[in-house]
Structure formats: C-alpha cells, structure tokens
Symmetry: C2
Subunit: 606 residues, 2 copies
C-alpha cells in the first residue's frame, strides 16, 4: 500500500524525488467543494516517530504553498527538512514522543494528485481539466489519509501561512479530531494586497504564450517566464523590507554572476531571477495556479461577526502566533482570528513575535528561541509528559506592596474570587495569580500580557494568555464575558485609566483593582519633609525618572475618580502591608495598598 514515490503512477514531471515519501491511493473518488470530482487521489506523505497503539500520539503538519512533505530530516544523513528547527527528537515537536505526519498538498506537484497527474479519463495530465480545489478539499484528503493510517484524535495540527489555513479548517470542520491547533503567520482570509500579488502572478503565468491554456505538458517547454515572475513577486512578499535591506543594501550593484535570463544589474534583481529560475525547475505552473487560487478563495470571514460564526464549531485549544514584520499575513489578521476565538470562549493563546524576518519568520531560526518554546509548552500542555514536578508559580516575584517583595494582594484578591468564577487577569505576567486560582475551580482563566517572555512563562504554567496592550482596550472581549476582571498593581502603569476601567466593567461582572496608595503617611512624609517624589523599598523602589509607573494616585483620588465617572465601588480593602494589617479607619493615611472591587452597574453610568 505505502510505496515509494518513484513507483507511484502519479509521478509529476517537475518534481524532484522525495526520498522518504510514501504514497497511498485513497479509496474512491473525491467530491470537491467546487462541484467537481476527482476520480482518484494519491497522497504522498512523510512520517516521523512512531504511532502508538492507541493511534492518539499523532501531530499533523501542513505545509505552505511551495513546501512539501519533507518537513524534517529522517536521520543525520538525510537532506535538511524545511522545519528542522521545530520537528525532531527532543525538538519542540518531539518525534521521540509524537508521530508526525506531513502530507504533500492536493493540487501540488510533489507526489499528491495535482494538475500534472494523469487524468484517468484521457491518459494525459489533467492540465486545464484539473478542477478548482479549495483548502477544504486539501483538508479532506488529509483526513482520509489519517483515517487510512489509523490515526484517531490528533494531538495537534500545526501549520504556517497556507498551512495555517489548513489548520484553521481542521479545527473548525473536524473539531473532534484534534486537541490543539498551532496556527502561525496565517489569516482568516488574504488581505486585498496579498490577493493582488497572487492575481498578478497568475496573470503572468496564464498570459505566458507557453502556457497553452494549461496544456503545456507535451510542449518543448511550459510557461517558465510567467512562473518565474510569479515566484519573484512571491519572494518579495515573503521577506520584510528590513530583511531585504540587510541582504542587499551593502552590495546593491554588485550582483552574483548568475546564469539567468533576467535583469542582472542589481543584486536584488539577480537574487530574484535566481529564485525564479530555480523554482521553475522544481515546480509546476498549473500547481502554482491551483494552490494560489485555493489560498485566495479561502475565506473564514471578513467581519468579526462572520469570524465568530465560522470559528464556533472549534473545540480545540489554540496557539496563534504572528510575526511583527510579516506584511503578507500581518499580525492584525491573527488578532482577528484570536478575537473570534475569544468571543467563542475558546481556550486560546496569542503572541506577536518580534521579528525582522517577514512572513518567512516562521521557517527561520532567527526568532525561534521564543516561539519554538511557546510551541513546546503548548504541546506539553496538550499532552503532558512525565516530567519533574511543575515548578509552579515560584518565579522571583516583582514587588507588590510598596514595602514587600511578596504579592500580599494576591491572597486577598483570591479570597474575593468565588470558586468556578471565570477570570480575566490584565497584565498577568507569567500567570502567578491565575496559576493560584487554577486548583480552585473550573472557571475559565485568561491572562492578558504584553511581554513576549512573560507570555512564554504563562504558557509554561499551562495558562491561556493573549498578548494585548491594555491601552487599546479589551475590544476582543464581549460584554460581561467574565465573572471577574482583575487589574492588580497595573493601574499606575496605564495611560488610559478611564478607558481601561470602563472596559473592565464592560467585560466583567466584578472588577478588582489594586494599586499602591500615594497618600500613605510615610509617602506623604517623603514629599512633605524631604521634598522628594515619594519612594519606598518595595513596589515604589524605582526612581522618578525610570519607573514604569506613569500615574500617581491615592485612595481618595481613586474614590473621587469613581464618583466622578460613576463607577460603582462595591468594596474597598485597604492594607498596611508593612504591619500586615487591614486598615478600616483613615485608610488614605494608614494603608499603603488598596484593593477595590467595582461592580458593573448600568444604572450608575450615564
């Protein structure tokens, strides 16, 4: 059944051999979303690691437009795979534990049925008769392959770019078949700009006089110029402007001597000509058209409402990663996905990885230290391996009380939160508070954090954490989505105080806010007697010119503010953290830390 790609009747003219690929003919015809039918489909794929007896340790990796099944080396002597950084023994996707499957895409030219395959009806390559295919069709082929391999529920589906489109489709169409989805550098649908580049590429191919309407397989040569042009355009979009400058600006007019039939004046032009020329040797123009068209048709929605609807069926846990310099699949599109997941109460984590590498970042080692470990932690959370006892929330803590290093406020905040309450923690750091709440109940716990390192820490604590800037609001969250929203010791670092509190009250039934009290008597004394900006040796230890704090307020200031803005205060807890006591009388003088509980109360707001 499984056979070497060379023995397949489905060999593609333009493909180079994939040494380790197996191939299998799926049973029966494949009805397509476009209405057409493929009478038979062969899938070429590679596997890594071993499938366990239960068939439940598998991870599916989906490749992007010009990738293939050779995702990683099979052994040291093997050729490099395109995602060796991620997949292998001891790697984030650990092939000592997991069975990794990577199929070649339907419509491609690397062993799976595509336009260059023989059409059994004519005995000739399909060419222009190859029907329109979609990402959904590709996923259907992958699903049949998994059935064939005896794989039940996947640990995860992982993919970047068009691989991400397949991942999203898996999660929404086959919710019971995967525990987790890792979607990198992807989108709910292409931007108009990305679409535009694809259209120009396809126009270049189809209007190449050697395209012959797509039936060029028996011609001396095919639309090589058009395909090379399409690839050149694609290549520009995969790189960030920074990366291009770095690569070419030093030596702008001294191109390498390349045997190419394209303009060679500029280094960057020679590079593109080289890439285009190389690509033509290994890729079939009809496949490029078919795959890029499938990518362009992919559409999970262009409005928040449509996205929410289309992601509703998903049941898996999510890790969504974007890359800051990716302008082909810009981070805002990943945030759209995450927004829809949030609205559906799906367990999701998101981070925009700082990167100079553009769309290609997800394939490159440059930023892998961060996002590789995020994927490792995420998969570990899906399928915990026996390991040293969870270190728990024992990181060196930042100070909380203005005098103490310990987060004294956490004890009180935890008391305020009912078991099973759903909690959104704004500025969650590595998730110390949420990790302490976790054993309490079954309520949904979500952290918001800006810092990449801390997000990794929160993932390592098995938490769902969303990267966001509080000053930009909690737009992604629905009205009253959480029982409780917490802003602990973060208010004083927030620019848009009113906006953040209003958003908290919109999203949470109860809001808990803690902050240091500027009017604590020892702080008053510093200004009053020394004539200096108040400081202490705990939370307020940083100097006026390098503190992260930008707002200075007392308990009275906050109460005035709430009265002015009609924010309803339900409870106030004032602590003297140095003495370890709760202050009831004259709190604004004798407490250094305040915890306020605010209630959402529509009647109170204008």
């Amino acid at each position: 059944m499984a056979q070497d790609i060379f023995e397949s009747s489905d060999t593609i003219r333009t493909s180079q051999p994939l040494r380790h690929a197996q191939s299998v003919a799926l049973d029966g015809p494949l009805p397509l979303e476009s209405g057409g039918v493929l009478p038979g489909v062969t899938v070429a794929f590679e596997t890594y690691g071993r499938l366990n007896a239960g068939g439940d340790n598998a991870i599916l990796v989906c490749h992007a437009i010009s990738g293939d099944s050779h995702v990683a080396r099979h052994d040291d002597a093997d050729e490099p795979g395109w995602w060796d950084i991620l997949i292998g023994p001891g790697k984030p996707v650990d092939t000592n534990r997991f069975f990794v499957v990577c199929p070649n895409l339907l419509g491609g030219c690397r062993g799976t049925t595509g336009p260059g395959s023989i059409n059994p009806a004519t005995g000739k390559p399909y060419g222009p008769d190859f029907p329109t295919i979609t990402i959904g069709d590709m996923v259907e082929v992958e699903r049949r392959l998994l059935d064939h391999l005896g794989i039940g529920r996947l640990i995860a589906v992982i993919g970047g770019s068009v691989g991400g489109h397949q991942t999203l489709t898996w999660a929404t169409r086959h919710p019971d078949r995967l525990r987790g989805a890792v979607a990198l550098a992807t989108s709910p649908r292409l931007t108009s700009q990305a679409l535009a580049f694809d259209v120009v590429g396809r126009n270049a191919i189809r209007r190449d006089p050697h395209f012959y309407g797509g039936q060029y397989y028996d011609q001396p040569h095919g639309p090589t110029v058009g395909l090379a042009l399409a690839r050149m355009i694609g290549h520009i979009t995969y790189l960030s402007p920074e990366a291009m400058n770095q690569k070419f600006e030093g030596d702008r007019l001294h191109p390498r001597q390349e045997a190419i039939e394209f303009e060679k004046t500029f280094s960057v032009g020679t590079y593109l000509g080289h890439q285009g020329t190389k690509f033509v040797e290994r890729f079939d123009a009809n496949s490029y058209v078919a795959l890029s068209f499938a990518m362009d048709l992919f559409d999970l929605g262009g409005t928040p409402e449509r996205l929410v609807e289309n992601f509703r069926a998903a049941r898996c846990r999510w890790l969504v990663l974007s890359f800051s310099s990716d302008w082909l699949f810009p981070p805002a599109q990943s945030r759209d996905i995450v927004g829809a997941l949030i609205r559906n109460n799906a367990p999701a984590s998101y981070c925009e990885i700082k990167s100079a590498c553009g769309h290609d970042a997800f394939l490159l080692p440059d930023d892998f230290d961060h996002y590789g470990e995020m994927i490792r932690a995420f998969i570990q959370n899906l399928a915990p391996a026996p390991r040293a006892p969870n270190p728990g929330p024992d990181e060196p803590p930042g100070p909380t009380s203005i005098f103490h290093e310990r987060r004294l406020d956490y004890d009180r905040i935890i008391e305020l939160i009912p078991p099973d309450a759903s909690v959104l923690d704004l500025g969650c750091g590595t998730g110390q508070l949420l990790a302490r709440l976790k054993p309490n109940g079954r309520g949904r716990l979500v952290g918001i954090e800006l810092d990449e390192e801390k997000i990794l820490g929160a993932l390592q604590h098995d938490l769902d954490v969303i990267q966001a800037d509080l000053n930009e609001g909690l737009r992604a969250f629905a009205d009253q989505q959480f029982d409780c929203v917490v802003l602990s010791q973060t208010l004083q670092a927030v620019k848009d105080v009113e906006g953040v509190i209003a958003e908290m009250l919109r999203v949470g039934a109860t809001c808990i806010v803690s902050f240091p009290n500027l009017a604590f008597h020892k702080l008053r004394r510093i200004l009053g007697e020394e004539g200096r900006a108040p400081r202490a040796y705990g939370w307020l230890r940083d100097k006026w010119y390098d503190t992260a704090d930008i707002r200075f307020l007392s308990i009275t200031d906050f109460e005035d503010f709430c009265a002015e803005k009609k924010f309803h205060i339900q409870q106030r807890i004032a602590l003297n953290t140095e003495a370890g006591t709760e202050i009831k009388e004259d709190a604004n003088r004798d407490a250094d830390l305040a915890i306020f509980v605010l209630r959402h109360d529509k009647k109170c707001r204008a």
Copy 2:
C-alpha cells in the same frame, strides 16, 4: 519656437494629446551621464501664471514616473490636472503670484524625447538604441528648458516620488538656482524592496515575446502583457494595505464587468487588470523601462556619511514631507534625507503626514488639508507676499507656571540665551519661544515637535521645524551642533528622561531645562493634608488620570538626578510664579517652577 505638441516631429505613438503642452527643441546634443549622447532633445511642457520681468517668480514642478506636464487645469473648461489640489489661483502654489513650469520627463512618452522618438541617425524610433538615462539627465534637460525660458533663480522646485528625486538633484547640483525645495514621498534611493518590484516589472516587459528586444514599433503590437503586468505591480505598491482593504474588501468576489484579458474572479484583480490595460493604451513600454531604470539608478547614498556628503552642496531651504502609510517610499527614508540636511546645517522642516493613502497620498485630497497648508506656508516664507501683519506668537498659550497661563519661564529662558546663539527647542509647539528669539540675532533656530498641527503653526511662524519623538533621541543631530538646547516644560512628559538629557548635552553646549516643582509648599500640602495627588490651576490643572505628565519630580529630585548621572548644573533659577519672584533660599519649598542650565562637560561624565 514654442509649438503645439501635435506639430512636434517628436510625437510619440502611444501618447494622448496634451492640449496645452508647448514644446521646444533644445540647442545642441545632450551628453548623458551613462556616457552616451542624445543628438537633439525636444521638451514638451506646460506653464501656469506669468513669468515676471525679473524672471524670478517661477516654480518648477517635477512629475513622477507615469505623470506628465498637465499638472493642473489651465481653465475651468480644461481637463483635470494631476495636482489640481496644489496648483492654481489661490492654491498653495498660487498661480496668481507664481509662474509654474511642468516639463514632461526625458525618456518619457508625452512629448519630450524618449525611446519612442525618432532617432535622426536611422529615421526610426530609438527603441533599444535609446541610451540609459538618469535623473541627472532629466534635470539637465529641465535646466536647459529654464534657461531657454529666461528663468533665473527659482522660488522652488517641487516634486513627489521620482519628482522628489529630481527635486533633490536640483538642490544638490544647482544650489544657486532655487530658494526652496519641497520633496514629498521621496527617498535618497529606492529601498531594496522597491527596487525588487521594479526589476520584476522590467523583466515582465523584456521577456514578453512581443518586446522584440525593444524594437516593437513596427510590429502589430508591443509588449502589452508585460507592460500591463508591470503596471499592476506598480499599482499595488502605490496603495496602502488599508486603502486596498477599504476599496475591495466589501465586495471581494464581485468584480466589475471589465473587458480585460486578465483574471476577473476577484474585485482587486479586475481593478488591476483594468489599470494595466488602460496604462498600455497611454504609455510606451520602452519609456517605462527607461524611467524606472533611471529611478532605480538614482542614489544619493546608502549611509548617513554618504548622504551628508551628497547633500553638502545644497543651499536652499527645505520642506520634506512623507506619508505614514507609504511603504514604497517609507518615512524612514525621508528622515534619512532630513538627517543629512541637519548635519549640513541646512534650513529644513520635516513632517510625516498621518495618512491611510500609501504612496499615492501626495496626489490625493484626503490629507491635503495639512500638508497643503504646510507647502503654502513654506512658499510664503520663501517669497513673502504682502499680507496682514504677521499675527506673531499670540496663540492661546498652554499654561507654564503651575498657577499662570502665561509662559513666565520664556522671559527668563530668553535672557539666558546670548544673541546670535543657535538654538534647538525640543517640544517647540508652534514655535512661540523661537519666534521670540528670532529678532534677537542671526543664530540658527530649529524646533522639534511631534504634533502635525503644531508643526504647521511653526511653519506659519517662518520657522524650521523637524518632526521627531524626543524619546527616540536626537540621533539626527551632531555633537555640539547647537549653542543651546531648550526643553521647556516638557521634561515631565518624557519617558526616557536620562536619555533625553544626555542627548541634549551631546548636541548642545548649553542646555536649558524647565519644569514644575512637585515639592512647592502648596503642592506638598495637597498630598500632606488632603491626601490627594498634587494639582494646581495652571500647568498642573489636569487630573492624575488624564494628565500628559508621566514624571513627577521636585527641584531636589532633579538635583539628585544630575549628581547621580554626573550632569553638570551651571545655574538654577527658581521662580515663585504666583508671587512673580525669584526664590534664592529654600527653593524646593518656595518655588513652583525651576529653570536649570546644564553644561556639556566631558570630564564630568563617566
């Protein structure tokens, strides 16, 4: 001599008639920078307004790659010009006052000699025999035209994109021929990314089988597919991703029915196909190749050092404008130009206009309200028209003293600055302080400001103002470039206090810093007695949660800070602005406003 374009022997096959274009055959051959020679050059151009007797009221407008001489309507019945928003009676470039000349580019196809012109040596169009031309060659043709027209020193040269390249070339090659340069959406040279798109476009043209090596003029048709593809690519780069989404996302799969031979599935594809098809009707492929190659060869330097060297010769005043969403000529490139101008002590103003329109922003009315008025003010400064007395720095002032609305600190700061001193004012607003210094002497005065509206105000005060974020430092400025650097009432809104002060001391021999004193006794009392964050009714009138201030410090805090960082304090002036007195004793208690003079002193710094 001047003749209608239709009568010119130089008529280009692909051009549409330009009704108002005149044309003139320049004397003698044109030696080119590439080493070649053009035996004769005809220039087609249009003019607006009247040249005065002295020949010194002219403004030269340079067009971009696919523009032409028809920059504005000649009368109400005329066809629209491509820059009607800018040029005309009463417009920012006021044709009631100025004589505007806009020539068609050398190498183009709209009347000026180009590859489609007849080669006198063969009697046939130049085609592939048209020599490589540069932006310098274009400017040389423009210079000869101005000589021919009797125009001496220009008021200004104005151009965007490749028009900007010409503007930069004018200013650096012919410094005595212009008083001012307005360079919009341009760069010292293309980014590698922009270059890459051009190369792909030229490859599409040259590899079109109907290119016939460039000699396609006697063929049934030329490289129309290649030229259309090049135009499609160009079009994508002219628009911002936001603008594309806005244009096409609502109706992604419902394209207009266009009679085009390109893919029509997607709205954006149909639009591009339409643009490409239309362009082929009016543009010559050889011209496109010649002009884009000239743009790509343009290079004023890729390092700050080379840029400084290449801009050294310039003598004019500058207005450099970039557009925030322009990714083809990104704002960072304009900042590179401005950096070189600053290093050369050239009088320059710069603003990055907030815009969603991409590279095309400079042609569109969307953001014109701001940058149009900036150009108007700049030209007014170059050639003042009789007008109502200058309103002077009488804007409603922000408060300065924590009790007063008037900028009491200015009087003292002005006393501290010697006549003829060069002054850099950080956070200059609309230039109130600089405008007051202006009558004092001849020292160079430059403002730094972030806000677009205030930059316009400063231009209207006839000042040079550079847009920059202080927290990103004063990188553009040289060590000890100014006698005096002022930071008045801005320190408390600065995030990187140490960085900004260090930069001030690097750039200025003397630094003047003023700020409100948190330890003023009335402020102490507010915290001490009321237990509230200190406020006053002047400068400190905003509440803790919505003030722009993010740093809170006393005179003592600042002195501690300077001691710790080894910043040398030369003088301290402490004012009680309520009483209008200077405080000598116990200033930290009795003064509400402090002015510090710091000196650059290498020995003091580690």
